[in-house]
């Protein structure tokens, strides 16, 4: 690879890449994001390669291993060109048929098409699927289109042109002003205006200055940062190089979660390739700008997503947050000025520079500009990554894009913001999604996790789950956070066992407020939100646990029981064999019953019974 020595050479390189490629060549883009890998995408790819070789046509077809397309629920999925045919839930045994029919003869295999669950109609093209239709893909636009390990793919699609534009004659101050004017806010949770952060680092007199990309995406049920890194790593690198030019930094760090091996791998490859083209490293595009990125693997600690804890971790210490009375932009990493932004924030930068701040600020609401990627998960039909403009209503997100709740159950709440956020009840679904509105409702934007809860989810159990999570993940230095969470968990545990009182519920609420008030870092200051928001909107559920000793959703184990309906049971002995506690009695072909003293309520009988004879109460 030849290094680019002038910004103008990038365009020449792009032309060469485009000329080298045949736009009409058939290709199959197989999604190999972590989600699809989990459902067997690699097997699909390897059987593609095998069959193409067997038929001796492997030169006529590009098998492209792309990043996540977003529609994880339907994985493994692929898009076949020409025709943009979208196949979903493909397994390795379908591959031969796909090659023979679709690729060689252009026939469409009906069985592999996506079926609209509402109308029952089969959909051929990806962009016609309702899940994609309502989305507005900016940062995620190229994720399923390019091969993340090929820098040429990114350049072909216009990558690094924002960097070129900047280096060709926009001053650092103008770049900062542009980002500020765009109204972009931090996508990691807090929503701090990115431009103001940059400006303050730009004005800092100390040097050297550092940039950090926060990819320690710890929120459970949240995976867009990892998928963005594995699917389009160069967009993040480009954003960081522009940032380095703007604030005057020579060294950047990316702190990636250790649980994302593919993201670490793909980002590492991307860094190498960018260096080889002279887009990273010494004298970038011959402009005199030098900037490099080092990859730090996270240690598996949620609290390291907090900026000061992350900095402590890069410095080689335990991830204990520090009191942030001076901003990181003045004294951050190694006590030097530091800009720390989330993956999605960095990926927004090239888009803003390419299209202009004015264009960007037209997207979204008054205070929240641009788009946001959400991980739509939980009790929802279309699990996956969705990118929507800020200000879209929760209802549009969950019902229209997400396809509602499976099995015709009723939606109860939407949990946003991970362990720092809260639950928004069904009657507030028309709430527009932006930073302020979510905070007013007692939740927060967070990193973009969105977990749908239906009537079979117990809200006390959800609160308890998050407390158990934060108890485990708190660094433990603040007494209020460490002991406060432990005590809150103790109380919620009492409640889920039906051993609590209304006085204890008041204490729980008081505790949650005090812990929020008294703790040092973001983790402690928000860990009360799941408790407070569930008490605020679902107090009756708490009261049912406390007063009636009942779990309305049938989740809390101590408050439910299993029994066998004598009419429906035909004595097949299936449940009896499965029961780990030998708590089920009964002769063959006679109805069984459950010995309540021995039953641990594991639920395996309920799952095993084919005759719906096991009843949960």
């Amino acid at each position: 690879m030849k290094k680019i020595t002038k910004p103008a050479e990038l365009e020449e390189l792009r032309k060469i890449i485009i000329d080298r490629r045949d736009p009409d060549k058939p290709s199959v883009a197989v999604c190999c994001g972590t989600g699809c890998l989990a459902s067997g995408a690699l097997e699909v790819v390897s059987s593609f390669e095998k069959i193409l070789k067997e038929k001796n046509i492997d030169a006529d077809l590009d098998t492209r291993i792309t990043g996540c397309h977003g529609f994880c629920e339907q994985g493994p999925l692929m898009v076949i060109k020409p025709g943009n045919i979208f196949y979903c839930k493909v397994n390795q045994h379908d591959v031969e048929e796909i090659v023979e029919k679709t690729i060689m003869r252009g026939e469409i295999i009906e069985r592999l098409l996506y079926v609209n669950p509402v109308t029952g109609e089969k959909i051929v093209r990806e962009d016609e699927i309702p899940f994609y239709k309502k989305q507005y893909r900016l940062i995620f636009a190229y994720n399923g289109k390019l091969v993340p390990t090929e820098i040429d793919d990114y350049i072909e699609l216009g990558g690094y042109s924002a960097l070129r534009k900047v280096l060709e004659g926009i001053s650092p101050a103008q770049v900062v002003a542009e980002v500020k004017a765009s109204g972009l806010r931090g996508r990691g949770g807090g929503g701090f205006p990115t431009g103001i952060k940059w400006e303050s680092c730009y004005n800092a007199t100390d040097s050297p200055k550092y940039l950090i990309c926060n990819a320690d995406e710890g929120d459970p049920g949240c995976f867009q940062d990892g998928y963005l890194l594995e699917g389009n790593p160069h967009s993040v690198i480009e954003g960081m190089v522009i940032g380095a030019y703007a604030v005057g930094s020579k060294q950047g760090y990316i702190y990636v979660r250790n649980e994302y091996p593919l993201a670490i791998k793909n980002f590492g490859i991307a860094v190498e390739q960018a260096r080889a083209y002279g887009l990273l490293g010494e004298n970038i595009m011959g402009s005199g700008l030098s900037f490099d990125i080092r990859i730090n693997k996270g240690g598996g600690a949620f609290v390291c997503g907090e900026s000061s804890a992350l900095i402590a971790s890069i410095e080689g210490n335990v991830g204990e947050p520090r009191d942030k009375h001076t901003h990181a932009t003045e004294r951050g990493l190694w006590n030097k000025p530091t800009v720390l932004n989330n993956v999605k924030t960095w990926a927004n930068i090239p888009i803003i520079l390419n299209n202009g701040a004015e264009w960007f600020s037209r997207i979204g609401t008054e205070t929240s500009k641009g788009t946001m990627i959400f991980s739509l998960t939980g009790k929802v039909n279309n699990t996956g990554l969705v990118e929507v403009p800020m200000g879209i209503s929760l209802r549009d997100l969950v019902i229209d894009i997400g396809g509602g709740v499976p099995q015709g159950k009723k939606i109860k709440a939407v949990q946003t913001g991970g362990p720092s956020g809260g639950c928004i009840p069904e009657h507030l679904l028309d709430l527009p999604v932006d930073y302020e509105k979510l905070t007013e409702a007692g939740s927060m934007m967070g990193s973009g996790g969105m977990i749908v809860l239906d009537e079979s989810s117990c809200m006390v159990d959800v609160a308890k789950y998050f407390l158990a999570f934060t108890q485990d993940e708190s660094c433990g230095s603040c007494f209020s956070c460490r002991e406060g969470i432990t005590r809150m968990l103790e109380i919620t545990d009492h409640i889920t066992r039906g051993q609590s009182s209304l006085a204890e519920l008041d204490l729980l609420q008081e505790l949650a407020e005090v812990v929020k008030d008294a703790s040092m870092c973001g983790l402690g200051q928000t860990c009360g939100n799941p408790v407070l928001s569930t008490i605020r909107y679902f107090e009756d559920e708490y009261r049912a646990h406390i007063l009636e000793k009942k779990c309305p959703a049938g989740v809390c184990r101590e408050l439910i029981s299993f029994r066998i309906d004598q009419e429906l049971c035909n004595g097949c002995r299936a449940c009896l064999k499965k029961c780990p506690e030998e708590a089920i009695q009964g002769e063959k072909k006679e109805s069984h019953n459950i010995l309540q003293d021995l039953c641990t309520k594991c639920g395996i009988c309920l799952e095993t019974c084919k005759y719906d004879a096991v009843i949960k109460e």
Binding site: S474, C475, G476, S477, C478, R482, R487, E490
Partner: protein, 228 residues
Amino acid sequence: MVNFTLNGLEVSVEKGTTLLEAADFYGIEIPTLCHDKGLSPYGACRLCLVEIGTPGRSRLVSSCTYQAREGLNVRTHSERVIKARKLLIEMYVALCPSSKVIQCLASKYHVTKVRFSPKHEDCILCGLCVRMCDEQMQAKAISFVNRGGRRLVSTPFAKKSEDCRLCGACIYICPACQTRCQGPQEENILCNACLNLEPPCLEKFEDVMCYMDPCVACELNTDKKPNK
């Protein structure tokens, strides 16, 4: 010099002074369990919380780590501070009822009930011993181990440490294993033997004002609640 407001008084301190030091200088007592003048501030016990900012847009910070800034409005005994501090002391008593230091705090800050089940721990993880061993004794024999709810202070692998010189400084500085409190009974973990009457100010003001002479709260008409 930095000028700011401390409980309504205009004060000035040298640049770099923490709020805790400033309050100490002006004779205002702020309780703390993890602070020692010879060690670096850590901000872990959260008892030294003070309220900064104007009401409505204020927040709580630990005064031992927060440096005074020009024009800051600091309240060390506001209602919000007292509410948080009392609940924290309540949790401290439940965690470690045998500590005299903690029992005395409870009496001083009028904590008269404990709603949590007692744990009878010996350590409150204030980190004084860890910093003492590191910063003053230069031994670095002990450190925090694990995280979150499982955190504790230990030597590596919980074995006898080669770095430890048995100087005893860690024991000297520990607030939890100092003189044991003889007061608490089995059925009531609170001692409260040295309980003082809580000043009635909070019923009328957002701040405790009893350090003022004469006491404004006591002289005021009970019907008027000027700040509330």
